[in-house]
């Protein structure tokens, strides 16, 4: 006869329920790698676009060429000229930058959801349970606040502070959300805040810091998490 109390099974079940109800652990490292690649591509595209927009000294092709910054040819960073240029030039570029930012967010989000859903499905977990909802809101609030703050910074003329602010707010959002998911997310958050603080000192290099913070950091931590939690399991199906 089966014993009425199986302490091992009970303890194991309690441990699973406690963890499952408070943390989302099916986050895939490949999500980070994918999002990082999207961010790198976006940064490169944005850099290239600003470079071509703010390089030409042909007034017909480029209405901003007459400004002191638009006329300097062959400068390596179109962003510097945009940053120091007129308010009109900034406003004219805003739709492009907003579109780029939204494009990166949507694409990176889709890639992240794809890999994480693949992992949580193999673990038999729903992707939209109470913990994931808490995780979502704990990130959404700082991110929306940060987004509006960055928009205001840009419109107000402090374009050089936009990328540092994005990195800092994103880092704070991750730090806030990390209590509901893997510990690596806390480290990633702190790293993003650090990159943002350093970026603040070098406003000319915004695109480079964007690429480091949103690109390389995601790829690095993504690979770390993949190696730690996913690779072994795939190689050893028994575990």
């Amino acid at each position: 006869m089966k014993p009425a109390v199986d302490p091992l099974a009970q303890l194991a079940e309690i441990r699973t329920i406690m963890e499952r109800s408070s943390r989302f652990i099916s986050l895939s490292g490949l999500s980070g790698v994918g999002a990082g690649v999207v961010a790198l591509a976006g940064a490169a595209f944005g850099h290239w676009y600003l470079h071509t927009q703010f390089r030409s000294d042909d007034v017909a092709a480029n209405p901003y060429a007459a400004t002191p910054y638009g006329s300097t040819f062959g400068d390596s960073s179109g962003f510097v000229r945009l940053m120091e240029g007129s308010a009109e030039a900034r406003m004219a570029t805003l739709p492009f930058l907003l579109g780029l930012a939204l494009g990166i967010i949507v694409l990176a989000g889709l890639v992240a959801v794809y890999f994480t859903r693949r992992r949580s499905r193999s673990a038999g977990r729903s992707l939209w349970d109470p913990v994931v909802r808490r995780l979502f809101w704990s990130m959404a609030v700082p991110l929306v606040a940060g987004g509006l703050f960055c928009l205001r910074l840009y419109v107000h003329g402090a374009a050089g502070l936009v990328v540092p602010a994005m990195l800092i707010f994103y880092g704070l959002a991750l730090l806030n959300a990390s209590k509901y998911t893997l510990d690596e997310i806390k480290l990633l958050g702190i790293t993003e805040i650090g990159v943002g603080l350093v970026a603040m000192l070098f406003p000319d290099w915004a695109f480079a810091f964007f690429a480091v913070g949103f690109g390389l950091c995601h790829i690095g931590y993504g690979l770390l998490m993949y190696n730690r939690y996913e690779r072994q399991r795939r190689a050893d199906p028994v575990a």
Binding site: V5, P7, L8, L11, E13, I17, R20, S21, D129, P130
Partner: protein, 99 residues
């Protein structure tokens, strides 16, 4: 000496009650809906077991209204946390004795 199995708390005899307490140990305050979803239960099932735990004084049931919608949340009481911890300790003791 009494076998440790007799020290196991009767209030946690059922899987659902064990599950409810486990969730409430790991989370400060949990709504009825979230608890139901996390443990994959029906309304009636959760309500009856939650009532049993409330009667034992282990769970506090907070009933509020958000507009016209009732919103029930649960928190583990101090006694509940202590009792659950004791239950876990007893389970461990049983394991050590048998293993």
């Amino acid at each position: 000496m009494k076998h440790a199995i007799h020290q196991l708390n009767k209030a946690f005899d059922h899987r659902v009650r064990l599950g409810v307490m486990a969730v409430l140990m790991a989370n400060e305050e949990v709504s009825f809906g979230d608890l139901k979803e996390t443990l994959d239960l029906t309304d009636g099932n959760l309500a009856s077991h939650a009532a049993a735990l409330e009667k034992a004084g282990y769970v506090q049931v907070n009933k509020q209204f958000i507009g016209k919608k009732p919103n029930t949340t649960f928190t583990a009481t101090k006694e509940g946390r202590q009792a659950f911890q004791d239950h876990l300790d007893t389970l461990e003791k049983l394991l050590r004795r048998d293993g």
